[in-house]
């Protein structure tokens, strides 16, 4: 099961981000993007918390990468972080580590 919660400046992604859930995932991300764009004032950067993501495949990586590019395209700097080490290895293998820019472990707050 996949969920996204978003508040201005922060988007939290959970669950599996794979081909099977791609259409559903896109809907969540579209709403999350809308939340960021409609915030007053709009954030200059948005934290994308990936610490609760439990599965990623190439299709899911691509979807997240497009989401981050959309944030950038709207003048919002995405700050992805928190991807579990195993999933970070997956993104490295799949060549998305740079696009997702995810860091190991949860972000210190």
């Amino acid at each position: 099961m996949q969920q996204t919660t978003s508040t201005p400046g922060k988007v939290v992604l959970t669950g599996a981000w794979t081909m099977d859930q791609a259409v559903e995932g896109l809907s969540f991300l579209a709403l999350a993007l809308q939340d960021q764009l409609e915030a007053t004032p709009p954030p200059t950067s948005t934290e994308v918390d990936l610490s609760q993501v439990r599965e990623l495949d190439a299709c899911g990586c691509q979807l997240l990468a497009v989401f981050l590019e959309n944030l950038k395209g709207n003048g919002i700097l995405p700050v992805p972080h928190g991807l579990a080490p195993a999933l970070f290895d997956t993104t490295r293998l799949l060549g998305f580590a740079g696009l997702l820019g995810a860091q190991d472990g949860p972000k210190e707050t």
Binding site: D20, A22, A58, R92, G101
Partner: protein, 716 residues
């Protein structure tokens, strides 16, 4: 996986089909090598080939989501790997287990392909056997092995298995998949993982690049917009790198080039849309100025470079010489050519009624059309022809196993394996040949002790020979065993109530073994001896329009010869008239035709027969069988066509003989319904439909219609 869009399932099935076919080919290749080993240890090249087959099946299965098929192949790989590393020694029993593993994979393949039953216990059993060999294989004899200093357990094994030499290559590869790769259910992550396994430790880097960045509102998340760039340092060849993509990518989607060893992997292009620096290569070789070199764009580029092998598992040059086409497309083409021939025959018939002088140009054009049509037909029919080696290749294993069970020493020889036969016939001829080979092994060949006692070589020989003779395919199964035993056959036939006598010629005696239920085996074994073999062989061969002959010499061996038509789609036939109808009788079944004299006609149990050279043949009246009104009901007014089916003969009464012609066989069941006594239909030049007679079925119909023949009487 489904995208909910029409057509996606079809796409997946189409690509699955490619995997199924490739997988079947790998299994055949693996079995061929294993059988060729006998009990010898495979050399390095053979070991690599078996490994590659197992590895390709595993990789393809993983990519297409047939995970169950990776279980056995994975343990196979482990076993082969330990063998290659000389961690365990080779034993002859490993060949048997590997063959069994191949059978299990074939069963799993059939399960996915045809929905046939998959026995999990068989999978578990062979996996356990393989695992036991992996864990407890015998110690290997000492061999000097040079291990790479930095080999790691995860990748070193594979590197050594795949690399035929110790040279290390550095490749830069970009992969631009088609945009529906996700929808097709292909796991890109499996492909990349497999690719990374080829690399030396730390020698793999991957970078994904979005080729466009749509807005989320416009984005179809199941569309692939990603291009991948890889660099890898590997002992694998370019061919092996390309093989990773063999099931998933066209050559245009791959761009591979080899980097000079002193050169850095190419840096990420800085100005590509959506590109961001991604995974850095783990190796940090010294920088060197880029050296311009020609791009090797997929397989075509390799083929230009004549020293490089072809990609996608093909040998160089093969790619251009063959393509894989669905057999239904070929059948469709054959049908269309058949329709063209019928149209051409119709035009010829119409033109024959026109003044040849006034319509000279038309006549010339039609003659040219006839020639072109026949050439086209020949070319199209040849597409369906496949080498008989496809069938022959299954026998080495069968002979090996049966010889082992029977305690006999046997050598199998095959001759003429490149002889081509219609694909439909290939599938049907396999069973009769299996019966014949089994019989030769079980009944024909003697044990080594008996052979030695008879002054023969201790090892018996079975030979399978195929050739094309006068428009037919001839397949011989011969052995140098004891030959058929005339006395024993006569005694058994008499015991079984089959009509026979001591005065019968050898050829007639040999024909007795085709009688239903006949067997000379002293013991019923699970191989043969139940008397259900040779009659089935005969029926199957006759159903293909073929004939079976036997030759035997006591103490020297026996030879069974099967003669088949080249194809089932075209038939040489004799068209005959019965009332207003026309029928086609297959020429292969016809002995002769005659107009009987009154003294040739006799009566047996109230049924009319015709006496031909001392034989009394029943008369089958086609007008009665097919309920046709005709004025010709007396054989003296019509023609009797004598037909033979494996020694059994009958006379078909027809009104007149019309023409000998090649006809295109059409299924009557598809368009109408089954008609008893017919093997199909054809469309004649005048546009009318003619039934093609099924002589075997006519025999059955005649038997039901009349009692057993008794003493002959003069016809009334």
């Amino acid at each position: 996986m489904s995208n909910g869009k029409p057509g996606s399932d079809i796409d997946i099935k189409r690509f699955n089909q490619v995997f199924f076919e490739e997988c079947a080919e790998h299994l055949v290749e693996m079995e061929r090598i294993l059988i060729s080993l006998s009990d010898r240890e495979p050399d390095q090249e053979q070991m690599n080939a078996i490994f590659r087959a197992a590895h390709s099946i595993k990789g393809g299965a993983g990519i297409f989501g047939f995970d169950d098929m990776t279980v056995v192949t994975h343990v196979m790989e482990s076993l082969l790997d330990r063998l290659r590393k000389h961690e365990i020694g080779f034993t002859a029993s490993m060949v048997d287990v590997l063959l069994e593993a191949g059978d299990v994979i074939a069963m799993q393949l059939a399960g996915h392909r045809e929905g046939s039953v998959v026995r999990q216990e068989a999978i578990d059993a062979v996996r356990d056997k393989l695992q036991r060999l992996v864990d407890n294989g015998p110690a290997a004899p000492p061999v000097a092995v040079v291990e790479p200093p930095d080999s790691s357990p995860c990748s070193g094994a594979l590197i050594r298995s795949l690399g035929d030499d110790t040279a290390t290559h550095r490749f830069e590869l970009s992969f631009t998949p088609d945009d529906n790769i996700f929808r097709r259910g292909i796991r890109v992550e499996s492909i990349i993982a497999e690719l990374s396994e080829l690399a030396q430790p730390g020698g793999f880097a991957s970078r994904a690049e979005l080729v466009e960045v749509p807005t989320l509102a416009e984005f179809d998340p199941e569309n692939c917009l990603t291009r991948w760039h890889f660099t890898l340092t590997t002992p694998a060849s370019a061919d092996q790198v390309m093989e990773v993509f063999m099931f998933v990518a066209d050559e245009e989607q791959l761009n591979l080039r080899e980097l000079p060893s002193e050169r850095l992997p190419a840096a990420a292009p800085a100005n590509l849309p959506g590109a961001t620096a991604a995974a850095e290569p783990s190796t940090a070789p010294g920088a060197a100025p880029p050296v311009p070199e020609p791009r090797l764009e997929g397989r075509r580029a390799y083929d230009r470079d004549e020293t490089s092998p072809g990609a996608f598992g093909r040998r160089q040059g093969e790619a251009e010489s063959s393509i894989r086409v669905n057999v239904t497309k070929v059948d469709q083409l054959i049908n269309q050519v058949g329709e063209l021939l019928i149209t051409q025959a119709m035009l010829a018939q119409v033109a024959s009624e026109l003044d040849p002088v006034r319509y000279e140009t038309l006549h010339k054009g039609l003659l040219q059309l006839a020639r072109n049509s026949r050439d086209l037909q020949g070319s199209v029919m040849s597409i369906r022809l496949v080498p008989i080696s496809i069938v022959f290749s299954r026998f080495p294993r069968m002979v090996r196993e049966l010889a082992g069970r029977l305690g006999k020493s046997v050598e199998l020889k095959t001759v003429g394996e490149t002889t081509e036969l219609d694909k439909g016939l290939i599938e049907k001829v396999a069973d009769p040949l299996s019966h014949l080979v089994r019989n030769a092994l079980d009944h024909g060949l003697e044990t080594s002790e008996v052979r030695l006692a008879n002054g023969k070589e201790p090892t018996g020989t079975i030979q399978l020979k195929a050739s094309q003779v006068a428009g037919r395919i001839v397949i011989e199964v011969s052995d140098d065993g004891a030959g058929l035993n005339r006395d024993k056959i006569l005694a058994k036939a008499s015991e079984a109530g089959i009509p026979c006598s001591e005065s019968m010629s050898d050829e007639e005696v040999w024909q007795l073994i085709f009688a239903a239920g006949f067997s000379t085996a002293d013991q019923v074994t699970d191989l043969s001896g139940r008397g259900v073999g040779m009659d089935v062989v005969l029926k199957n061969v006759q159903a293909m329009g073929g004939r079976v002959q036997i030759a035997s010499q006591a103490g020297k061996g026996a030879c069974v010869t099967i003669s088949l038509p080249l194809t089932l789609a075209i038939l040489n036939g004799l068209s005959v008239a019965v009332g207003a109808e026309k029928f086609i009788i297959p020429l292969s079944a016809i002995i002769e035709s005659l107009q009987p004299k009154p003294d040739q006609l006799k009566s047996v149990n109230g049924k009319q027969v015709v006496a031909v050279r001392g034989e009394y043949l029943p008369i089958l009246r086609l007008h009665e069988l097919f309920n046709i009104e005709t004025e010709v009901t007396d054989p003296r007014q019509g023609i009797l066509v004598l037909v033979d089916l494996g020694g059994e003969k009958t006379a078909l009464l027809v009104d007149a003989l019309l023409d000998e012609q090649q006809v295109v066989v059409k299924s009557i069941e598809t368009n109408y319904r089954r008609v008893a006594g017919s093997a199909g239909a054809t469309i004649l030049g005048d546009g009318r439909v003619a039934l093609i007679l099924d002589v075997a079925e006519l025999f059955e119909m005649a038997k039901k219609a009349q009692p057993e023949p008794g003493p002959a009487k003069e016809a009334a």
